[in-house]
Symmetry: C2
Subunit: 144 residues, 2 copies
DNA sequence: CACTCTCGCTTGGTTTTTCAAAGTCAGCTT
DNA sequence: AAGCTGACTTTGAAAAACCAAGCGAGAGTG
């Protein structure tokens, strides 16, 4: 891992590739906002959670806000930014890959569905004109 | 990280979430097949590479084959399976997220393009009927 | 047959990261 | 004041990653 990678995939992993990071993002999608909520649902140790929340805030994935409940002091909460919300498709791609290739023994796992038809959706490439493309119609240009 | 997670995202990260793993897959997409090719392009230490290739083979992402060059003994090479090739969209989602939100200083980074028009493509949800969906039209059902 | 070379691992020792538990601190209630 | 609570910090030990060196099988060379 060099200082700043040219490859976009490597750069994405500099932010998202550490242990727990994407699970923190997943919890944020499922509604966690407070330190204690992330901690109790993930079971991650507190020092790691502190560090991950900090990198996600630095990277602009989460935004730190202050809130105050009645009879309590001011505290921080963490909310997905627009940039963070766009990670939905990354999580969707991971979930649907696993559902296809490493299905769970029981239960359906995490499934992304069409809100209207409730059919499972897939994640795929879409052209600039809004047309789904199959894998063969996509090429990659790498840096340098 | 418990034994076997119910959540599909957590399960995907059990295979793909370790350091270097997705970069090994990326190299496989870019044509690396031999141990030494992965090693020299990634700069990862050999013991880690051995371990990562083994987990990827176990997970069915890579397939180990034997090859023999003239005047050399039989060696192993590693090739993407169908399951591994379907990770293309995961890498595409990561790359396009980074290109949008953490652009590199110079150069274009890694870009997935339409093979015909050469326009950059995006990664998104596609309904069972083949229609692209925006983020709001997708819901998530989580396990249990 | 000895000798060397290469590739794909292994091994050994050091550094870094993760873990679990305990400690800290601000400000609120009693 | 004294105690509580949520969000960190610190501490010390375990696990993983890193680096350099070593190993072994088979092929070629002398």
């Amino acid at each position: 891992m060099t200082a700043v990678a040219t490859c976009s995939i490597a750069r994405s992993l500099e932010v998202l590739g550490e242990k727990w990071t994407l699970l923190v993002v997943r919890e944020a999608f499922w509604g966690s906002t407070r330190f204690s909520e992330f901690q109790s649902s993930l079971g991650v140790s507190t020092d790691i959670l502190t560090a991950r929340l900090a990198t996600l805030v630095d990277a602009g994935v989460l935004e730190r806000r202050s809130y105050r409940e009645e009879g309590a002091r001011e505290r921080s909460s963490y909310h997905l930014t627009e940039s963070g919300r766009e990670l939905r498709v990354v999580l969707g791609a991971l979930a649907s890959w696993t559902n296809d290739h490493h299905p769970a023994g029981f239960g359906a796992g995490t499934v992304y569905r069409d809100r209207e038809t409730h059919e499972p959706v897939r994640v795929g490439f879409i052209s600039a004109t809004g047309v789904p493309l199959d894998a063969e119609s996509v090429e990659v240009t790498r840096p340098q």
